[in-house]
């Protein structure tokens, strides 16, 4: 389990998922601006160099975020899973070695090898009756994470208020979060839950659609609108501003209409594995 966590983290930093590579190739085909093409061609060269040199795609090793889907009959208790994820992140950082980013939020002093109080961040989902475990590792870079936005809209703002806020946020972000990336949107729930859902949305495989057809339609519409802003690759202007727009939603209070935006940069790193009840690890079980 500890070894799997270490592998997932380093693997994510080195090797971009296939769906992302395809999305980046599509972006280069669509882009027409000189600077945009220059940026996207450089991105492709970079991915090739990372593959051949076995180096990290991006120097920002991020803050490690793990999503766990645990069966209720999986033999290791979540407390043990969390301990292993933390130890694995630490081991990968020391052994590779990777740059450590974690600091105490007030003193700004380093807290160790990409671990600290409540870091890495682990999210849980429990599956009744199942005996397996799915783990997804998303190293989240700070350039894109700094471009996170929350607005407590009122019900009268409606769906158009949501669209308007998302568009404003992405224009405001400009080139800072390394566009073209994945825009994750969380709607409904509560303030904290909307942000949680926005992060869950960026962690989905690219171009997947929300099972609720109304939400999926909003994903399509916002994807189109966002690419009309002209922000372009690295904010230098162009046709491709976002690779995708994913939305997660939750039902909410009748007086609430929260919308949260979380940005994932073009280097949208993501790896996952399935661990069986017998401890066997099957990598690349995408979810």
């Amino acid at each position: 389990m500890l070894g799997a966590a270490a592998s997932l983290y380093v693997w994510a930093l080195r090797d971009l998922p296939r769906d992302l590579r395809e999305a980046l190739a599509g972006a280069l085909e669509r882009e027409t601006s000189v600077t945009g093409i220059r940026v996207l061609e450089t991105i492709h060269r970079n991915v090739e160099v990372a593959d051949t040199e076995r180096n990290l795609v991006c120097q920002d090793t991020g803050i490690a975020v793990y999503y766990c889907r645990v069966g209720e009959r999986f033999p290791l208790h979540p407390a043990g899973i969390e301990r292993a994820l933390k130890a694995g992140t630490e081991r990968a950082t020391v052994e590779h070695p990777l740059r450590s980013n974690t600091v105490h939020t007030l003193t700004r002093e380093s807290t160790g090898a990409n671990v600290g109080y409540r870091v890495p961040i682990v999210h849980w989902e429990f599956v009744p009756g199942w005996d397996g475990l799915d783990v997804k590792c998303v190293p989240k870079g700070s350039g894109s994470e700094n471009m996170s936005f929350l607005k407590m809209l009122v019900p009268a703002d409606g769906v158009n208020g949501i669209k308007r806020f998302v568009l404003e946020s992405i224009v405001e972000a400009g080139g800072k979060p390394c566009p073209p990336g994945i825009v994750g949107i969380g709607i409904g729930g509560s303030a904290d839950y909307a942000l949680h859902l926005a992060k869950e949305a960026i962690a989905r495989p690219i171009g997947t659609r929300n099972p609720d057809p109304l939400v999926a339609q909003l994903e399509d519409e916002l994807y189109g609108l966002l690419n009309e802003t002209g922000i372009g690759p690295m904010g230098l202007g162009g046709d491709v501003t976002v690779l995708q727009c994913h939305i997660e939603h939750a039902d909410t209070h009748m007086t609430l209409n929260p919308v949260a935006v979380n940005y994932q940069c073009w280097a949208a790193r993501r790896t996952s594995a399935h661990i069986g009840a017998d401890g066997a690890v099957d990598y690349d079980r995408d979810f």
Binding site: V47, G230, M234, G235, L236, W266
Partner: protein
């Protein structure tokens, strides 16, 4: 029309900086100085003089992944570029007090950088953020490092070869691609909102 400039830093010829126009491509040889938030907080907020000469320099917003080889000696592992906007307030001081000629980063500087860059003859060169694997191959060696207590936000001196491609994001004539892109995007935002 794409114009490509090949420049060697440190660069003390103001005409070479004035020849750069927003949108042009730049490829760099020579030396690049790595700098970040804490490095500049130390210089400007704590008033400590940088022990590496910044005259005519191209600065790079970075905090590299390195392996320590011995006292003051480091091997590059993965060197990339961080978001510049956080550090915009240091621009004027870097140009005025230390003679910095160019700042390389990602994501751009907000408009407050335009005036001092024009007045002091400085440019902002945009690199492709996240493209660290490629950037690392263009950095030949870490030649010097100061302020190791700020690791990884030290003051670094890198020798580079064919560093780029970079795009002139803000030139020394008052033009900023970021300003133009933002302006156009805000106009489009109004049009898009009207369509909703």
């Amino acid at each position: 029309m794409t114009v490509t400039h090949k420049l060697t830093f440190p660069l003390n010829d103001p005409a070479a900086i004035l020849a750069l126009r927003a949108g042009d491509e730049v490829v760099v040889q020579g030396h690049v100085i790595g700098i970040r938030d804490r490095t500049q907080i130390r210089i400007f907020d704590q008033g400590i003089e940088p022990p590496i000469d910044l005259t005519g320099a191209l600065l790079l917003h970075t905090a590299p992944n390195v392996r320590k080889l011995g006292p003051g000696r480091y091997e590059k592992l993965c060197i990339g570029t961080t978001t510049s906007a956080r550090m915009v307030r240091f621009t004027e001081g870097l140009g005025e007090r230390y003679g910095v000629r160019a700042i390389c980063g990602k994501g751009g500087f907000p408009d407050q950088a335009i005036e001092p860059m024009q007045r002091l003859g400085m440019v902002y060169l945009a690199i492709v953020g996240g493209a660290a694997a490629l950037e690392t191959t263009q950095i030949e060696e870490i030649e010097d490092v100061a302020w190791e207590d700020l690791m990884p936000e030290c003051l670094w001196k890198f020798r580079v070869k064919d560093f780029g491609p970079l795009t002139v994001g803000i030139d020394a004539h008052g033009n900023s691609l970021y300003h133009d892109v933002q302006n156009r995007a805000r106009q489009r935002l109004e049009q898009l909102s009207a369509r909703l």
